[in-house]
Amino acid sequence: MNRHPGLQGILIGVACAVGLVMAGWADADAAGRRGGGGMSRSSPASGGGMSSRAAPQRSAQPSTRQAAPTQRPSTQTSRPTTGTERSPQQQGSTADRQGDRQENQGERQGNRDEAREDWQEHADDAREDRQDYYDDWDDHYYYHDDDWAEAMVVGVTVAAVAVAVDDYDDNETTEITNVTNVTNVTNVTALASLPCEARITVVNGQNFYQCGSSWYTRAYQGDAVVYVPSGPPPSK
C-alpha cells in the first residue's frame, strides 16, 4: 500500500523533532526566556554610570581614628603624676616650676593638637565619604550587593496601611489614598526566590506566600521583585 515507507518515517521524525523544539520554546518562554548558562549579569558597567570607584579602600582608616582615644587616657593619667611630683619640688626655684608648667602646657597643647588632627582627619574622611556619595551617585556598583543585607523600607503597600486603619475604625480600604509612604529603618532580608513551592493566600489584593510556618510577601528592590518575610495574612 505504502509506496514510500522510508519517506513516511522521515516525515514522522521531522514532525517529532519540530514538536520537541516547539515544546522547548514554550518552556523557554514560560521561564521568561532566561538562559540556562548561569552567567552573571552583575557588572560595574551595567548601570552605565559616569563615575566608578575601584573599591572601598578606607578599611585601614578606622584604626587610625581609634588611636586618638587610646592616647588620651594615657595623657590624662600623666597629669596627676606630674602634680604629685610637683609637691616635693615646691621649695624649688620658680624657674623650675615655670619650666614644668611650660612643659606640661606644651604636652597638653601637643595632645590637643593631636586630638584636633585626629578629629579633623575623621571629619575630613566623613566629608569625603559624603562628597563621594553625592558626587558619585551614579556609581551603581560601588555599594553593591552586600548593602542589601541592610535594606530599609521606603514605600509600603496600600493593603498593609489599610489593614492598620481597618483595625481602628472599619473604614473601607478604597477610601485610603496617598498614605503609603514611610521610611522604615527596620532591616529587611530579601530573598530573590522563595525557598519552597509556596501556597498563595490573597488578602486585600496582597499576595502572601506560605512555606511551612513562614510567610512572605513581595517587594521591589533595585529592578527586581523579591520576597521578604512577613507575618501571616491579617485574617489568619
Binding site: 521568561g32 526566556r33 532566561r34 538562559g35 552567567m39 552573571s40 549579569r41 552583575s42 557588572s43 560595574p44 558597567a45 551595567s46 548601570g47 552605565g48 554610570g49 559616569m50 563615575s51 566608578s52 570607584r53 575601584a54 565619604d129 559624603r130 556619595y133 553625592y134 558626587d135 551617585w137 551614579d138 551603581h140 555599594y143 548593602d147 542589601w148 541592610e150 535594606a151 530599609m152 523600607v153 521606603v154 514605600g155 509600603v156 503597600t157 496600600v158 493593603a159 498593609a160 496617598n178 503609603t180 509612604n181 521610611t183 529603618v185 529587611v188 489584593g205 496582597q206 499576595n207 510577601t217 513581595r218 517587594a219 521591589y220 528592590q221 533595585g222 529592578d223 521583585v225 523579591v226
Partner: protein, 275 residues
C-alpha cells in the same frame, strides 16, 4: 645553501629597515614639542563640542530618546559576556520622567516619576511599588539611581548639572574624527576622567545630541564597557501628560519598596546636592 644565502640577504635588509624607521621616527619625536599646540587645539575643539552637547541637553525642556544599550559582565572565570537592554525614555523638566525597559532576556519594567511619586512596575508579575519623593527631575534621578539602585544608564546625562559635572570630571578631551556612519554626521569625541574613559558621537547641526556613548570602566577588573546607541531623539516643548501618569493595571499588587541603607555618615533619606 639557499637558506643561508637568504639569511645573509635578510639580515642587512632588516638592519636597513630598522635604521630607516629610526631615522623616520627620530624627526617626529624631535618635532613633538612643536605639535603640542595642534593637539591642544584639537582638545579645545573636543571640549567645546562636548560642553555644547551637555548645555543643549541641560537646557532642553523635554526630551525623548530610544537607548539600545549593552554592557560586559566579566564572569568569575574571566569570560566576557554581553547583556543588552532597550529603553524608551521620556523626560520633561522640571519634574517628569518615564522609562520603559526591555532586557535581552525579555524581562520588562517601567519607572515613572510624576513630580511627586516614583513608581516602578513589573508587568510580568503585575506588581508595582511607589515611594513619595516630591522634587525636581534632577533630584528624582539621583534618588532613583543612588538610593533605590534603579538601573538608569547615562542618568547623569539627563540632569541639568551635566555640563558642569562633565567639565569637572573630564581630565582630557580629544576630537577623534568626523564620523559618517550614523543618520547624521557626528563628531567622535574621546574623554578621559580619573575613573572612566568615555567616547561620545555627537550629532552635528542645530541639535547636538549624542548618537552613541561608550564607557570603559578602566579601574574595574577586566575593564568592562557600557555601550549605548541613542536613536529617535525628539526635543520638544512638552510631552503628553498622560505618559507620566501611572495607572495600575487591573489586579496589580502594590508592594513594599526597599532601599539599601546609605553609608553611616549620610543621613537616611538625604537627597544630597545636585552637581
Amino acid at each position: 645553501m639557499i637558506h643561508e644565502r637568504k639569511h645573509r640577504l635578510v639580515r642587512p635588509a632588516a638592519v636597513l629597515a630598522v635604521l630607516t624607521i629610526a631615522v623616520a621616527v627620530g624627526p617626529v619625536r624631535a618635532a613633538e614639542p612643536t605639535s603640542v599646540p595642534e593637539a591642544s587645539a584639537q582638545d579645545s575643539a573636543g571640549r567645546t563640542l562636548l560642553l555644547g552637547m551637555a548645555e543643549f541637553m541641560a537646557r532642553a525642556p523635554a526630551m525623548s530618546v530610544t537607548m539600545r544599550s549593552s554592557y560586559d559582565a566579566i564572569q568569575a572565570d574571566g569570560q566576557r559576556i554581553e547583556f543588552g537592554e532597550r529603553r524608551r525614555i521620556l523626560m520633561q523638566r522640571p519634574d517628569k520622567l518615564r522609562v520603559d525597559v526591555e532586557r535581552s532576556d525579555g524581562e520588562r519594567g517601567t519607572v515613572v516619576f510624576d513630580g511627586r511619586w516614583i513608581t516602578a512596575f513589573k508587568p510580568a508579575e503585575n506588581v508595582y511599588a511607589r515611594v513619595e519623593k516630591p522634587g525636581t527631575l534632577d533630584q528624582a534621578l539621583v534618588y532613583m539611581v543612588r538610593d533605590l539602585r534603579a538601573t538608569l544608564p547615562l542618568a547623569r546625562m539627563f540632569t541639568t548639572g551635566f555640563p558642569v559635572d562633565l567639565d569637572k570630571r573630564a581630565t582630557s578631551v580629544t576630537l577623534v574624527e568626523e564620523c559618517s556612519l550614523f543618520d547624521v554626521p557626528t563628531d567622535h569625541v574621546a574623554v578621559r576622567s580619573a575613573e572612566v574613559d568615555l567616547q561620545i558621537w555627537i550629532a552635528r547641526g542645530p541639535e547636538p545630541l549624542p548618537r552613541r556613548v561608550v564607557i570603559t570602566y578602566k579601574n574595574a577588573p577586566g575593564e568592562p564597557q557600557f555601550r549605548a546607541d541613542l536613536t529617535h531623539w525628539s526635543v520638544t516643548a512638552k510631552l503628553d501628560a498622560a505618559s507620566f501618569a501611572f495607572v495600575p493595571p487591573a489586579g496589580a499588587e502594590q508592594v513594599m519598596y526597599l532601599a539599601p541603607r546609605p553609608p553611616a555618615d549620610v543621613p537616611a533619606g538625604s537627597t544630597g546636592e545636585q552637581r
